[in-house]
């Protein structure tokens, strides 16, 4: 049996494995009886270490449940009814992606019409953020303030302040 897969199984039982790899492990458990038995033994050892009197389901417990489930109708829940928490996560990601996309488009538009380098424009945008002002080194702050003054002439004023500086260094 693949050592890496067994190690992934061990980490999954501790909730310490990334979801994508955990899905592969669970898929293998469903299809490989030997691997399923290994999971059973790992879990048994876990429970008995914590409590020597623990009730241990026998090796066939999950198979019996699976047998009963085959007699149940397959579920088909409409997509609109999926997990609210999952939907919220997706919506938040979509919103963040939209804001980033708009900021990039505005940044590109300004670059097209302005002689100022896009990096400086992003730095000017960053300057608008009160959070950034509070945390910025004095030298960088002065540098950006000087360039910010020219942003009005370049027509870059009013660019969204929420764009992140995706790369950069405080060294000049």
């Amino acid at each position: 049996m693949n050592e890496e897969l067994k190690q992934d199984l061990s980490a999954m039982l501790d909730d310490e494995l990334e979801t994508s790899r955990a899905s592969k492990v669970m898929g293998r458990i469903s299809s490989d009886r030997e691997f399923g038995r290994l999971m059973h033994r790992y879990q048994m050892a876990q429970e008995l270490m914590r409590s020597p009197d623990a009730l241990i389901p026998d090796a066939g417990f999950a198979d019996r449940v699976a047998g009963l489930i085959t007699e149940e109708p397959a579920l088909l829940v409409p997509r609109a009814a999926v997990s609210r928490r999952y939907r919220d996560k997706v919506v938040n990601l979509a919103l963040a992606a939209s804001v980033a996309a708009v900021a990039i488009m505005v940044g590109r538009s300004i670059t097209t019409h302005s002689p100022i380098e896009s990096g400086e424009i992003l730095a000017q945008v960053q300057m608008q953020s009160p959070t950034v002002k509070a945390s910025m080194e004095p030298d960088l702050r002065d540098y950006l303030t000087m360039h910010n003054e020219s942003s009005q002439k370049a027509g870059a004023a009013g660019v969204l302040p929420s764009v992140r500086l995706v790369s950069g260094s405080t060294s000049r």
């Binding site: 979801t19 669970m26 033994r41 790992y42 048994m44 270490m49 489930i69 997990s83």
Partner: protein
């Protein structure tokens, strides 16, 4: 990470994938058995109720919207199923059995009485003894890692900080400890 895996598995079950439900059963069978055993001391009865819990959970999954984590939702079904079982048998929980609030704060641990057959008791004791013996014989770093994980409930990050090693090393040590223990267990279980 565990919750994300559960969410994915639940979504798949809700779209007709019964194997995904099998994965959830295998993941939670021990926890549900322990929980129900706190209400129902007879081992066979407790496992029957655990089985019934999973069937009820499967049937109720179309109504699961993810307002809570899957495992807390499943635990609630287990507790209700155990209490219904006791009601139907006209039994009241004794002073030894825990209240629902205690069950909802459930942590494994605490001694539970076990009404197995004599042969079953012997095997359980043998298995528990084999695990303890394997633990004692582990190299220090493996024993420390598995002890911090199983007895202290530390995360891999926390264990790495305690042991002064990378998380990957912790992961490897815990796995090797489990392998060593499994070598002792496998002949007893087969």
């Amino acid at each position: 990470m565990g919750e994300e895996l559960d969410e994915e598995l639940v979504r798949r079950v809700q779209q007709g994938d019964k194997k995904a439900f099998d994965s959830l059963v295998r993941k939670y069978q021990y926890k549900i058995a322990q929980l129900i055993n706190r209400y129902i001391k007879d081992q066979h009865e407790a496992l029957d109720v655990a089985q019934e819990t999973f069937i009820k959970a499967y049937r109720a999954l179309p109504g699961f919207r993810g307002d809570s984590a899957f495992y807390t939702w499943l635990y609630r079904i287990a507790i209700n199923t155990a209490k219904n079982h006791l009601s139907m048998r006209s039994r009241r929980p004794t002073d030894d059995e825990i209240e629902i609030e205690d069950a909802e704060q459930f942590e494994s641990g605490g001694r539970l009485r076990n009404y197995e057959t004599p042969e079953g008791v012997l095997l359980s004791e043998e298995i528990a003894a084999a695990i303890q013996d394997a633990l004692v014989k582990l190299p220090d770093e493996l024993r420390t890692a598995i002890t911090l994980r199983e007895f202290e409930g530390l995360s891999y990050d926390e264990i790495a900080q305690v042991m002064g090693c990378p998380v990957g090393t912790v992961r490897s040590r815990i796995f090797r400890a489990r392998e060593a223990i499994d070598k002792r267990l496998e002949p007893l279980i087969r």
